[in-house]
Amino acid sequence: MSGRRIDRREALRLAGGSWAAAAAAGSLVQLVPAAGEAYRPGQRVEGGPIEGIEASWWKRLDGNRVECGLCPRKCRVADRERGTCGARENRGGTYHSLVWGLACALHVDPVEKKPFFHVRPGSRALSYATAGCNVECKFCQNWEISQFRPEQVGSVWMPPDAMVMAARRAGAPLVAATYSEPVIFWEYVRDVSKAARKAGIGSLVVSNGSIQEKPLLEVLPLLEAYKVDLKSFRERFYREVVRGELRPVLDTLERIRKAGVWLEIVVLIVPTLNDSDAEIRDLARWVKASLGPDVPVHFSRFHPTYRLTNLPPTPVATLDRLWKLAKAEGLEFVYVGNVPGHPGESTDCPGCGARLIHRIGYRVLENRLKKGRCPDCGRVIPGVW
């Protein structure tokens, strides 16, 4: 999986090694437990019970039941039970997030790995995740964290200030909520993003887009960019392969665009399941009409994993075909992912065709953009540069 589980040494390194040393060095944030904090930053947390915090988006129903207001599943949860994501629990009629501050994955990645191709090319992003997810993709690459409950995976206590400090220490101008599903740790995303903003660090979200309007709009202004995994353009695929719904994801895409937050879309192309010309044509047309032709769309290569081990990796020829098809439909920035060396990894000017950012894998070999414009024809290239 791309988000390896965290190990203690790495957490300590990112969090600053020694709390006392960090404080003595006059670091921005003193890494000692705040009043009421159960753990010290960087402390390994394993097993239960987990105290958690009161969730921010939920309502009380009759008889101590609650309804979660975070994602479109709207889980109705009886006392002592959890929502589908496993990260939220009803305790006596009050809904709790069990994952706030508990990072089960924490790594410094190039921003291209998220992938964001129009956000500060070549930058490092301190990437974090907690356990749990609100869908169950049969091809999940991070199922070892996304399909588990928080007490089933080892985590590290990283409250927002510690996260920001770790990003600084790692020389990362960005933090990215990613790997599992940020929606299910949305309070944590919100609070990390607030702390990051104060420290001049940008905040990114890499998500499946299954979120209700209210929590989305509350956190969007704190974000620099949002990447949505659009898993397919067919409800049937969402129902049978993802155990989710397409429509709410499309709503989220429109809302992000409307809010003016930078948006990129990734589509994992799974052989025989979502790789038809008809489906990708429908998708490209919808993106162009509803979001605009300048929203980057990445077609990414599938590798067999989790519950989809009976299918081969996506043939490069399939990705090639869909890459060309989407461009022919009028999308201006179409990329190919997980195929190092493919020309679809680079950014070309939709005006004059000049190569602007040359990438191989996650590495930026050359960036010719001048103040967000093509140096040859002067065309504005949208993004966060």
Binding site: G47, G48, P49, G63, N64, R65, C75, R76, A78, D79, R80, E81, R82, G83, T84, C85, G86, E136, K138, Q147, F148, R149, E151, Q152, R243, Y306, R307
Partner: protein
């Protein structure tokens, strides 16, 4: 029966043809659709009273002359028997240790070695909270995140199963309570198996249908299953799965069945009858029809037609 384990076919034969077919000298009554019940006091209970109630219910469920003979038809001396308890709701609505231990002792008298009888739940903490502190000479342990690393797919579920179940136990018993469940409708024996998978939270949509049946029909559970036992001294007709004392009533029964579906249909009937008595709508009208019972029956796991479920008093 060979090598100490019933094959699926052998158990199916038992369910369909009765104990005589297994050649154990028991009664010839068919087990399919049969739920044995015996009276038991709610609240605190002496070991003798618990033992008497359990033995009577086992006899009623198996049709055997003695409870030991009934169990001998289902378990072999070489078995390692995992007894999955349902202690989610804490002491108020979990099987009582006296009743569980009475069953374990009966099993030992039927020939299973005490050290091969394992009482287990999702976590040690839940066991302790429900009062399972001293279970000697039997083992008592939480799964505590010890999962078999293989993802097993069964129908719509894909899960890791407890290593205890996949690697150690050769026979399984679901030992639950009888209570209302906010989403599944009924929580008795079959829903209890959610406790042996790592991701039960994923499978509560659509009133847990078909997921409850899918968890059970995974061969690691289905092929090891022998009995469901319910301590229904006190049962709960509303507000489950958490313990809500105001929604309980003294049903005063222990229920036992080798038919994993019939006992659920029986439980549904009992809960609905109590709801009716109290002027509450039936589970179907309260938006929690346990449809997974019909699904389990359709899978061929047991008798799902309430009209064909026979309550046999012990």
């Amino acid at each position: 029966m060979s090598g100490g384990r019933f094959s699926r076919r052998e158990l199916a034969a038992l369910l369909g043809l009765g104990l005589a077919a297994a050649g154990n000298g028991g009664a010839a009554a068919p087990l399919r659709g049969r739920v044995g019940v015996a009276p038991v006091k709610p609240g605190r209970l002496g070991a003798g009273e618990a033992g008497e109630a359990v033995a009577r219910a086992v006899r009623a469920a198996t049709g055997a002359r003695t409870a030991e003979a009934g169990l001998r038809a289902l378990f072999s001396p070489e078995d390692t028997v995992g007894i999955k308890l349902n202690c989610l709701a804490g002491r108020g609505m979990s099987p009582r240790p006296e009743v569980v231990l009475a069953f374990a002792r009966l099993l030992a008298r039927a020939g299973v070695r005490p050290e091969r009888i394992v009482l287990f739940e999702r976590s040690t903490r839940e066991l302790r909270r429900a009062g399972f502190t001293d279970c000697a000479p039997f083992s008592c342990e939480g799964i505590d995140n010890r999962w078999d690393p293989e993802i097993r797919t069964s129908g719509q579920i894909g899960s890791l199963f407890a290593r205890l179940v996949t690697r150690e136990c050769t026979a399984l018993v679901s030992f639950g309570v009888l209570k209302d469940h906010d989403l599944a409708g009924v929580s008795a024996g079959m829903k209890n198996w959610y406790g042996v998978i790592h991701n039960p939270n994923k499978y509560h949509d659509d009133n847990c249908d078909p997921f409850v049946a899918d968890v059970f029909r995974c061969p690691v559970v289905r092929d090891r299953f022998r009995l469901t036992v319910l301590d229904a001294g006190t049962a709960q007709y509303d507000g489950g799965p958490a313990y809500r004392p105001s929604a309980t009533w003294p049903l005063g029964l222990v229920a036992v069945s080798a038919d994993p579906v019939a006992v659920e249909a029986w439980g549904w009937r009992v809960i609905d009858a109590e709801r009716k008595r109290r002027g509450l709508p039936p589970l179907a009208a309260a938006d929690r029809t346990p449809r997974w019972i019909a699904t389990a029956a359709r899978y061929g796991l047991g008798e799902g037609d309430p009209a064909k479920v026979r309550e046999v008093r012990g």
